[in-house]
């Protein structure tokens, strides 16, 4: 007993990476942006949660609305230096533990990220579950200042959209782990700032929309992907659910369309060896629900819906093949094809050379097969 007490009394002497700080003394950073102003000079923008950020809860004073966030920025040659500079202007200590979004400016991504994000990996406060994205069509500051719709924080709005699996979701840890290799290609989702939107608060000039993505080689942008291509990428990453496939519905393809909702999506990427060279078989499966049909064809007839599903399969097949070809042309492998070869055929991988995977990948044959099934026609059977 005495020994137990002695041991317990010694325990408070152990060190740890925490310290006491009252909530009233912290500036909670909810989004962090970084952009390039000119060669070697960075602009760091922080969105700090204000008293109104909680949404429903009224502030102490009541009545007048409190700012949901305060956007501060500073310029300098290093990330840490700018943070320190900003802290001199803020009455509270910056706390990065809840930074759920890191936004990279377009110019910085074009010119090369360099090691600007080193700080994020090094700081113990940072959590790598946050999303990373690139802003296009405006400055980082504009995005962080944009008033979101239906959420009180832009950060929340963006991460909700990403999370709802409509756009591409890229977590910090995934981005950095891709950057840490020579054979995987980091990808950044792109947020477009749309001018003069019809949604959003009165008088606001911009709205944010999560659209395409960019591929990076090492630290700079090499290729843009549009929203449709991102859909294909998402399916190949195993996130195909919730998408919509639209194909013509007439007996002969025409103006009228049928739309399928993807209820369930699966993908299987299989590396094989063909004469000592890797090859891939990509097979996609999915179950569909008819969400809308513009023609009046009897859906319940086997031949009819079979034909429509074949068209959807063909559509998806073409899209996937096109995207893979685009990736191969850019020698970009954001989907970890190389990783599979490395894991399954280490000898071949060593022989091919990790650094030359891009060139190998360009030549690698990829067979795509798509198997879709119609699960339900929705609440109706044949159209009216």
């Amino acid at each position: 007993m005495r020994r137990a007490i002695a041991l317990l009394l010694l325990l408070p002497l152990l060190t740890g990476c925490w310290s006491r700080r009252e909530l009233n003394d912290t500036a909670l950073v909810i989004a962090l942006g970084i952009d390039l102003v000119e060669e070697g000079v960075y602009e760091v923008t922080l969105a700090v949660a204000g008293s109104g950020a909680a949404g429903g809860g009224k502030g102490q004073q009541g009545g007048e609305s409190l700012p949901s966030r305060i956007v501060v920025s500073g310029q300098g040659r290093s990330f840490a230096g700018v943070l320190r500079d900003i802290e001199l202007r803020l009455p509270r200590r910056i706390n990065l533990t809840h930074t759920l979004i890191v936004v990279v400016g377009e110019r910085l991504a074009e010119q090369g990220l360099g090691n600007t994000l080193d700080f994020i990996l090094r700081a113990p406060e940072f959590r790598l579950q946050g999303n990373i994205m690139m802003v296009r069509g405006g400055s980082v500051r504009t995005l962080l200042e944009t008033e979101p719709i239906m959420e009180s924080l832009q950060t929340k709005a963006l991460s909700e959209i990403a999370h709802a699996r409509v756009g591409l979701e890229m977590r910090l840890w995934e981005f950095f782990s891709a950057r840490a290799t020579t054979y995987r290609t980091p990808m950044l989702p792109v947020v477009d700032l749309i001018q003069n939107p019809d949604t959003g608060p009165e008088g606001q000039r911009y709205a944010a929309k999560l659209g395409g993505a960019v591929l990076l080689r090492n630290d700079r942008v090499i290729e843009y992907l549009d929203a449709r291509e991102v859909r294909a990428i998402k399916w190949l990453r195993g996130h195909g659910r919730e998408g919509v496939l639209t194909v013509p519905c007439g007996e002969e393809p025409g103006q009228e369309d049928v739309s399928f909702h993807i209820l369930q999506a699966g993908r299987r990427i299989r590396p094989t060896l063909q004469g000592g060279r890797p090859a891939f078989t990509v097979s996609l499966t999915g179950r569909l629900r008819v969400t809308e049909i513009q023609c009046t064809r009897p859906l319940m007839q086997h031949e009819v819906h079979e034909q429509l599903v074949r068209r959807a399969e063909e559509e998806l097949h073409n899209l996937i093949v096109r995207v893979i070809e685009k990736l191969q042309a850019a020698e970009a492998d954001p989907l970890s094809f190389g990783e599979q070869v490395r894991a399954l055929y280490p000898a071949v991988w060593r022989q091919l050379g990790e650094r030359r995977w891009g060139e190998t990948w360009r030549e690698t044959p990829v067979t795509v097969s798509v198997d879709l099934r119609l699960q339900t026609t929705g609440l109706m059977s044949n159209p009216l």
Partner: protein, 580 residues
């Protein structure tokens, strides 16, 4: 009737002196006959010197071997010496046997006798009946030759009391009178006869207010040992239910009963219990809680190592499991030991309600016991040290609520906890007529105004309120006290070291709990040590037909509780053929 206290025991001075002078001669004669010169001298001076009387009393009190005087006047004088000429003592002189006339054997004429008792301790009706029987007795006792037998003769023939005992020492007689006996002295007999007439008003059996149940018997223990034993005996109607009586308290002479089931409870356990109770040398024991502190295994702990209950069904259940009960006269709280930590979340009702409901309720009790212990400190630790562990949206709400609160979170929590303790303590002790005002003021001050004034944040109030309610979920009161106390050190630890401090506190608590024992049973059983056989009655309560053995944590002589194959199932249907 109450008298102003005075050295004369309350009687007017003149009267007292007169009485003392009369008694002085009798006492002196008594001691002269016994040949005790010192006592004799003091007795002679008793009438004139109060100091002499006090000294004499001291000597008489210490000398427990003094015999009962043969002469009634001496008996009266000695008893008054014992009771300090107290008017409370009644010395009723009677004549045994009818007067002159045809007498049956063996007495020859009426024999003077006296009954001494304290009317305040006696059951009037019983006393009346006995006096009636004595006064109407046909024959007088045989006094003379075998004088000692007179007392037994009367006891066997003429006293309608359920129990009598012969008394040879005057000390015993005085003690018996103080404990509520009436003592019959017969002129010329060297022994007296004591019989129990204790009675008087007592509380009726009512529902226990502290341990209420929805389902199950409603009777609760009262302040009388006899009634309490009745309540237990009624539930276990078997000669194997043994009750050993002990007396504790030099002055209170409190009766203490140790009850156990002879073929189930280990004899060594009962022996140990009785040894610990006999060890207690103290002037008085007024409640079982007082006795409990003397017989616990580890005195320095805030956890109750002996369970106290007001419910006879809980005690009967405990006895059936091989525990023993300690019943203290004057206390409605019966002690049950050995007991373990898990017992504290068990309510007697758990065994009468259907088991699925019990499993849910017990789970909630455990959960909220943890909430009660850790909620405020966890809140403080998370908000001041580990913000990253709170979901962003929740953190933003908390931040907005805390905006403008002038205190650090620890201090805020301490203030609120103390505020709540005020309300609780005030509510318990205060005259019940004022109950409403406390709840109104308490709710207003702690709830509304504290937030409005911006002194305390709303999430903190929620935390503290949930904690306060959670504590009340535990069925055992002493357990709630333990949790209430422990909350404060944990809060301070959380405020200084964060979650690390909480882990430290939790570890220290666990080590302490592991070191505790209740009459040899590990306090954390059946978890430390792990007793898989007991798991059916912990957080869970398996159906009774599955619970075939008694608790393994408490060792018994016979652990077998129920037969095999008791699960309800359809029996063979009468009147229809079928496979055998």
């Amino acid at each position: 009737m109450r008298y102003r206290f005075s050295p004369g025991g309350g009687t007017p001075q003149g009267l007292r002196r007169h009485g003392v002078a009369r008694h002085s001669q009798q006492v002196a004669a008594y001691f002269r006959a016994l040949g005790l010169p010192r006592e004799f001298r003091l007795a002679c001076r008793m009438a004139v010197s109060a100091r002499a009387e006090a000294q004499l009393f001291e000597l008489v009190h210490l000398n427990q071997a003094l015999p009962v005087p043969i002469d009634l006047a001496q008996v009266e004088a000695l008893l008054h010496l014992y009771f300090g000429h107290c008017q409370d003592l009644t010395f009723r002189r009677i004549l045994l046997g009818r007067g002159p006339g045809p007498q049956p054997d063996p007495g020859s004429g009426p024999v003077p006798a006296a009954v001494a008792y304290l009317p305040t301790m006696a059951d009037e009706k019983l006393l009346e009946r006995i006096l009636h029987a004595l006064l109407n007795a046909g024959a007088a006792p045989p006094v003379g030759g075998a004088a000692g037998d007179a007392v037994r003769w009367v006891g066997e023939r003429q006293i309608p009391a359920p129990e009598t005992d012969e008394i040879a020492r005057i000390h015993e007689a005085a003690q018996g009178i103080a404990e509520g006996k009436a003592v019959l002295f017969i002129q010329g007999a060297p022994r007296a006869l004591g019989f129990d007439v204790a009675g008087g008003p007592q509380r009726a059996i009512s529902e226990s207010k502290t341990q209420r149940v929805v389902r199950g018997p409603r009777e609760g223990f009262v302040e009388s040992l006899n009634v309490n034993l009745t309540l237990i005996r009624r539930r276990i109607r078997d000669p194997r239910l043994r009750v050993d009586l002990l007396t504790v308290g030099e002055l209170t002479r409190t009766r203490v009963a140790v009850a156990y089931l002879a073929t189930i409870c280990k004899p060594s356990l009962v022996e140990e219990a009785k040894r610990r109770i006999r060890r207690v040398k103290v002037d008085g024991v007024l409640d079982s809680g007082q006795l409990m502190e003397f017989i616990e295994d580890t005195p320095w702990t805030i956890f109750p190592l002996i369970r106290a209950t007001e419910r006879p069904d809980a005690v009967a259940g405990g006895l059936l499991e091989g525990r023993f009960a300690v019943i203290v006269d004057g206390s409605p709280w019966v002690l049950l030991a050995p007991s373990t930590l898990i017992d504290l979340i068990h309510s007697p009702e758990d065994y009468f309600e259907r088991f699925p409901a019990v499993v849910l309720v017990r789970g909630l009790r455990v959960l909220f016991a943890l909430v009660a212990l850790f909620a405020p400190s966890l809140y403080v630790a998370l908000t001041t040290f580990h913000r990253e562990m709170i979901p962003t949206n929740l953190l933003l709400s908390i931040m907005a609520a805390r905006e403008g609160v002038p205190f650090p979170a620890v201090l805020e929590a301490l203030i609120m906890e103390l505020g709540f303790e005020i309300i609780r303590e005030a509510g318990v002790r205060m005259p019940s007529q004022l109950g409403q005002s406390v709840s109104i003021v308490g709710a207003l001050i702690l709830g509304e105004s504290a937030i409005q004034a911006g002194i305390v944040s709303a999430p903190m109030i929620i935390t503290v309120a949930v904690t306060a309610l959670a504590v009340l979920m535990l069925p055992d009161f002493s357990a709630t006290v333990a949790l209430r106390i422990l909350r404060f050190p944990l809060l301070l630890l959380a405020g200084t070291y964060g979650a690390y401090g909480l882990a430290l506190g939790g570890a220290a608590l666990l080590i302490h709990l592991l070191s505790l024992r209740s009459f040899g049973t590990p306090y954390l059983a059946p978890f430390g040590p792990l007793l898989p056989a007991d798991m059916g009655d912990t957080f869970l309560r398996i159906p009774h037909w599955l619970q075939r053995r008694r608790s393994a944590a408490v060792e018994q002589l016979d652990a077998h509780r129920a037969g095999q194959g008791l699960k309800p199932q359809p029996g063979p249907r009468p009147g229809r053929g079928g496979s055998p």
